[in-house]
């Protein structure tokens, strides 16, 4: 009798998704590989000896070793940003129950950009911390605005309406950004690099500025995960299970905006990473948020870092900003997902 219950309980452990261990191992291997690639590849190739010297022998002061040390900061930064974007995408999609919710598609990045440009032009801001707060304010206001418009009318926030609202808002805000920049060449110079989205300028101080936001965002995300699983079954089921849906949406959306807003502030608007990471993970592991959120962080970190390496190799002897690379990979994927979503709905 007991053994039959035991075997039944074993049968009931598919709560761990089928391919989870394989995916975890694959992610760890890819993570290590892309870290190595990020340290070695670039406009100046690094030899194995230089890599070791740069990483482990602080007293060696060769040019190669210094390049490695600079690339360490860049790599750490891109891993953090990618993870933040991955989590942010997963949370936004869960909150809106919309498969194409992503900071770039919903115009949140453009909102952050507008505030940063406005800050540079009118408030003379120039430090990373100032960027962050302005970008967060812009991201939050835009998020509320787009969801507000997208939820109007029948059927609430459907994927199509949200994307249209996001695209329209994004276009309007972009024109404002340009209107502010054109007559001010100094803003243009300061903003140009930032606008495309790049992790190349990362240093340890931008990383330490970023970390508190990353931690708060992740904690708020962790608080929401179990309830988001209930929300996925519809608002009524979630309420029936005892979820305060309003509080949950607010918490998770705040986490999402914190994560993508802080990333945008420091690295510029990098599109599609959250969308891509979450979709790949959900496709393989299924929709359980307890796995989707942490694994999207992994996937996001890997995607952004690989994209950055690709940008460095393809753009050699200069480099292609990572935002350009992710847009190239992400745009076709978005079209595929949007077509699928139209057929199926959510």
């Amino acid at each position: 009798m007991n053994s039959s219950i035991d075997s039944k309980n074993n049968l009931l452990k598919p709560h761990i998704p089928r391919h989870f261990i394989a995916v975890l191992v694959a992610c760890l291997v890819m993570l290590v590989l892309c870290i190595i690639a990020s340290l070695v590849f670039g406009s100046r190739a690094i030899s194995f000896n230089e890599l070791i010297a740069g990483l482990f022998h602080q007293n060696v002061d060769s040019y190669g070793a210094n390049v490695v040390r600079q690339r360490v900061a860049r790599t750490v930064f891109s891993l953090f940003c990618g993870a933040a974007l991955g989590i942010s995408g997963a949370l936004m999609q869960a909150v809106t129950r919309n498969p194409i919710a992503d900071p770039s598609i919903l115009g949140v990045n453009t909102g952050a950009s507008l505030f940063v440009v406005g800050g540079i032009a009118f408030l003379n801001i120039s430090t990373a911390t100032q960027y962050i707060w302005l970008a967060l304010a812009g991201a939050m206001i835009t998020a509320v605005f787009v969801f507000g418009i997208g939820s109007m009318g029948r059927g609430g926030a459907t994927p199509l309406k949200l994307v249209l609202a996001g695209a329209a808002t994004s276009a309007a805000l972009s024109s404002l950004v340009i209107a502010i920049m054109i007559p001010r060449s100094y803003v243009m110079d300061q903003f140009r690099f930032w606008q495309v989205g790049s992790v190349g300028a990362a240093n340890w101080s931008s990383i330490t500025t970023f970390i508190p936001f990353l931690i708060v965002g992740i904690l708020l995300g962790i608080l929401s995960i179990a309830a988001l699983n209930a929300l996925a079954l519809g608002d009524e089921v979630a309420k029936g299970l005892g979820v305060r849906t309003g509080v949950l949406r607010l918490t998770a959306a705040l986490a999402a905006v914190l994560l993508c807003g802080a990333t945008t502030a420091l690295a510029g608007p990098i599109g599609f990473v959250g969308l891509l990471a979450t979709h790949v993970i959900r496709l393989i592991l299924g929709p359980d948020m307890r796995y989707v959120v942490p694994m999207s962080a992994f996937a996001g970190a890997i995607i952004l870092t690989i994209s950055d390496v690709c940008g460095r190799v393809l753009g050699s002897p200069g480099e292609l900003e990572v935002g350009v690379v992710t847009a190239f990979i992400g745009a076709p994927i978005l079209i595929i997902i949007a077509r699928k979503a139209k057929v199926r709905g959510l």
Binding site: L11, L12, P14, A226, E236, V237, G240, L346
Partner: protein
């Protein structure tokens, strides 16, 4: 056996956008019984169910659970006593049966407790009651309508509540599956004493499976009691505007409604219906 609970509503008014859909309804849900809410389309059946299940806040009146106002009970605690299966829940893409059923455990879990032995047992038991244990690792997309509905009810069962609200659990199902679902719910009620409150469309199945009927008409409660007392041709005329004759169901002995339309009326029943 599930313990007895006192669940009362007193003069509740509720609706959407300031428009009252149910008007001053007072009732007590008989504990450990199968209760069915009947009424015509748009008469407020679902609204009443959702208000009792705390999805809609009444604009006036009060609802109490064991003497305590339900708006004062923390949502998660309430969800350990009262479960709800709404009419059209959403199936996340690619979800498995076990994952979906397991989500019914939410009110029993805290942030850091993770999955306990009780959780696994509750899920296993719910799947066994609904006969879906073999389907545990299947994707919901692969299932038939009847199987899907059993999965959803299993999700609500995993919640292990004493009271279960269901909004039209048999809609869109073939008659075979309708009877199957109602039989399973009756098993649940008889074996465990779970109080069931559901909205059903089919009057005859309601009359057969209900211990107690709440009949609604234009937002008001017009009749309440055992089917044999409540289901009469005059009540059906009142709530549905339909002429009918009520006969004894040859299988269960419960009342059975035979409608009288404008055509195919023989045996002089036409004059009876109109008279």
């Amino acid at each position: 056996m599930k313990p007895k609970h006192i669940f009362q509503a007193e003069g509740i008014v509720a609706g959407y956008d300031d428009k009252a859909v149910i008007n001053k309804i007072s009732l007590e849900i008989p504990s450990n019984k199968i209760n069915v809410i009947i009424g015509a389309n748009a008469c407020g059946k679902s609204t009443l169910l959702k208000t009792l299940a705390r999805l809609i806040k009444p604009t006036s009146g009060k609802i109490t659970f064991d003497g305590k106002s339900i708006s004062k009970i923390p949502p998660k605690q309430f969800a350990r006593f009262v479960g709800l299966l709404p009419q059209s829940p959403i199936v996340p893409e690619g979800i498995t049966v076990a994952d979906l059923v397991g989500r019914g455990r939410f009110p029993h879990q805290s942030l850091f407790s993770g999955w306990t032995k009780e959780d696994y047992e509750a899920v296993a038991e719910a799947m066994e009651i609904m006969n879906i244990t073999e389907l545990a690792n299947h994707h919901i997309d692969e299932l038939s309508g009847g199987q899907r509905q059993r999965v959803w009810i299993a999700m609500a069962l995993a919640q292990q509540t004493d009271i279960l609200f269901l909004d039209e659990p048999t809609t869109f199902l073939d008659i075979t599956y309708q009877v199957e679902i109602l039989d399973l719910l009756t098993d649940l009620n008889q074996k465990r004493g779970t109080t069931i409150v559901m909205v059903l469309h089919d009057i005859n199945l309601s009359a057969r499976y209900a211990d107690n009927i709440f009949a609604l008409c234009e937002g008001k409660l017009v009749a309440e009691g055992e089917p044999s007392e409540v289901i009469t041709s005059s009540l059906i005329k009142e709530i549905f505007g339909l002429d009918c004759t009520v006969i004894e169901d040859p299988i269960s002995g419960s009342p059975s409604v035979v409608p009288i339309g404008r055509h195919h009326v023989t045996n002089g029943m036409h004059s009876l219906g109109n008279g």
